[in-house]
């Protein structure tokens, strides 16, 4: 199965469309029109980086490239240029769709660069699929450098490929970028089922909600943080979806209650999914966490288990592997992917209590404590630090830090007062990292517990 053919209904083109703020592309038009034109043939069998700003252009190019390119690497517009050489190397890319990197050393490796048009301005005779295209998604790694996660169209669509199609018109939308796992899931569902309304970085939440309402969006997905913004916008009622989906972050009870209050007639579902593990389960009872009974009866083809307090998933939706020479394995020897999400069982229901290794999820963005600690520890007056998550009603969690200062021995001179040091540490973090990684609070402490193995004790939840 190829992406293009997934839009067909019994061989006939779909009546659905893809919409941006200004352009609507009927899916049927993709049968005879192209945004890549004759350049599409040049990508055949190539490993191609897809790096364009606009989501609609990315969407059109993806439909066209699936079955043509050997591999497509989905870059999000926020990928820092410094990581591009690593992405090209690890994915073995030899073509770019979009902006070619300016670095001459990188340009050498890339044989072909193709600029897609913003509309389907080229005519084509037929779509010829010859390759089972591999799809590569990027997730953030420990040092901020991306990890490349390999999927196939089959693994990406396994959560819904066999599900019956909904009756009536389905118009999907998502707050996510479709080049991230959560957004891509919605994009692929939408192509199969109907239409999609794509968000735009240039739009405010209000503008997007009003447009979604006008476009008749029936199904819409986002993280808990996206939905909290909707609830705070005051214009939630401009849209009347039949189905709201939360994923990518843990949904707490207050956001589920808030959504039910604002959309009393809407089905509200929170899903557990990650780029590596795929979609694990969906919960529709509007309660945070998930019933223990789900472990024995998750969605089709998915197996779940809890081991060492973390949730593990084995399914055809699992990613195949990470790319790169020194990449770790995604699946354990028993085939399960450890999600790293720690759970606790109370009265027959599991709740999420944090992440293994202390990874902090700030509004859907991952923060590795070690990365922040390294920046804090580079301050001349810091002896050591411990970075932790703190639960937060707006972004799910924020970053906080405990810091042990050096004493005024030796020739370091007089130590600045604590308030000044706190400010300096925040400034140092802000200069070195994106703002979601900068600690919201810094506590100066006398000492931090070190385990018998000589490691910092991390017991954050």
């Amino acid at each position: 199965m190829w992406l293009w053919s997934s839009t067909l209904r019994g061989g006939a083109p779909s009546s659905g469309s893809m919409q941006s703020t200004s352009i609507t592309v009927p899916l049927a038009k993709l049968a005879t029109r192209s945004c890549l034109g004759p350049d599409l043939e040049r990508l055949r069998g190539r490993c191609t980086i897809l790096s364009v700003d606009d989501q609609l252009t990315a969407a059109m190019a993806l439909v066209e490239m699936d079955g043509v390119a050997r591999r497509v690497v989905l870059c999000t517009p926020d990928l820092a240029a410094e990581y591009m050489p690593q992405v090209i190397r690890e994915s073995e890319a030899d073509a770019v769709v979009g902006e070619l990197p300016t670095d001459p050393a990188i340009r050498q490796d890339i044989g072909i660069s193709v600029r897609p048009a913003a509309t389907l301005c080229y005519e084509i005779r037929a779509r010829l699929q010859s390759h089972d295209t591999e799809w590569v998604l990027l997730t953030s790694g420990t040092t901020g450098a991306p990890k490349l996660v390999l999927h196939t169209l089959a693994s990406l669509t396994s959560a819904f490929a066999d599900a019956p199609l909904e009756r009536g018109a389905v118009v999907w939308s998502t707050f996510y970028d479709i080049r991230r796992y959560g957004g891509l899931q919605i994009f692929l569902r939408a192509l199969r089922a109907g239409s999609i309304v794509l968000s735009s970085q240039s739009e405010s939440v209000d503008e997007f909600l009003i447009r979604a309402g006008r476009s008749g969006v029936t199904h819409i997905s986002g993280t808990a943080s996206h939905w909290r913004r909707v609830l705070m916008s005051g214009v939630a009622s401009s849209m009347t979806p039949r189905y709201i989906r939360l994923s990518g972050e843990i949904a707490d009870q207050s956001v589920l209650d808030g959504l039910h209050g604002a959309f009393p007639d809407t089905e509200i579902v929170h899903a557990f999914a990650s780029t590596e593990a795929g979609v694990a389960f969906e919960v529709a009872d509007r309660k945070a966490g998930f019933p223990a009974s789900l472990l024995s009866a998750p969605i089709a083809n998915v197996e779940l288990k809890i081991e060492d307090s973390t949730l593990r998933v084995r399914s055809p939706g699992n990613a195949l592997c990470y790319l790169g020479a020194s990449a770790p394995a995604i699946r354990a020897t028993d085939g399960f992917v450890d999600t790293g999400d720690r759970v606790e069982l109370t009265d027959g229901r599991y709740s999420f209590v944090g992440r293994n290794g202390g990874v902090i999820n700030v509004g859907g963005l991952k923060v590795y404590p070690e990365e922040v600690e390294a920046v804090i520890n580079s301050h001349p007056w810091v002896r050591m630090s411990r970075v932790m998550a703190r639960r937060n009603a707006i972004t799910g969690a924020v970053v906080t830090a405990e810091v042990v200062l050096l004493t005024e021995e030796g020739s370091r001179g007089q130590r600045p007062d604590q308030e000044r040091l706190r400010r300096q540490i925040v400034e140092r973090c802000a200069n070195a990292m994106p703002s979601y990684k900068v600690p919201a609070l810094i506590r100066i402490v006398d000492s931090l517990e070190i385990s018998a193995a000589g490691k910092l004790v991390r017991n954050d939840a």
Partner: protein
């Protein structure tokens, strides 16, 4: 300092830190039009919990939409 002025100065402090231009604060100012983003609000809520000792979002009926709504969340005594 009143809860309102504590919150107002915190809005300004976080706006400065996040290099954002804060709109003049009034009760009917919509939070999403204040110039602050989600992360800014997250910082404000975290710091208020630190200084006031509670997080009203634990038992919120309705998410605040305006600056006035936001202040009210913190002015209502717990209990």
């Amino acid at each position: 300092m009143s809860v309102r002025s504590t919150i107002a100065s915190l809005f300004q402090e976080v706006a400065d830190q996040q290099h954002r231009k804060l709109a003049p604060l009034s009760d009917d100012l919509k939070l999403l039009q204040s110039g602050l983003d989600s992360l800014s609000f997250a910082l404000i809520v975290a710091r208020l919990e630190d200084s006031l000792g509670f997080d009203p979002f634990d038992a919120v009926d309705r998410f605040p939409v305006t600056f006035g709504d936001f202040v009210k969340l913190y002015e209502i005594p717990r209990g």
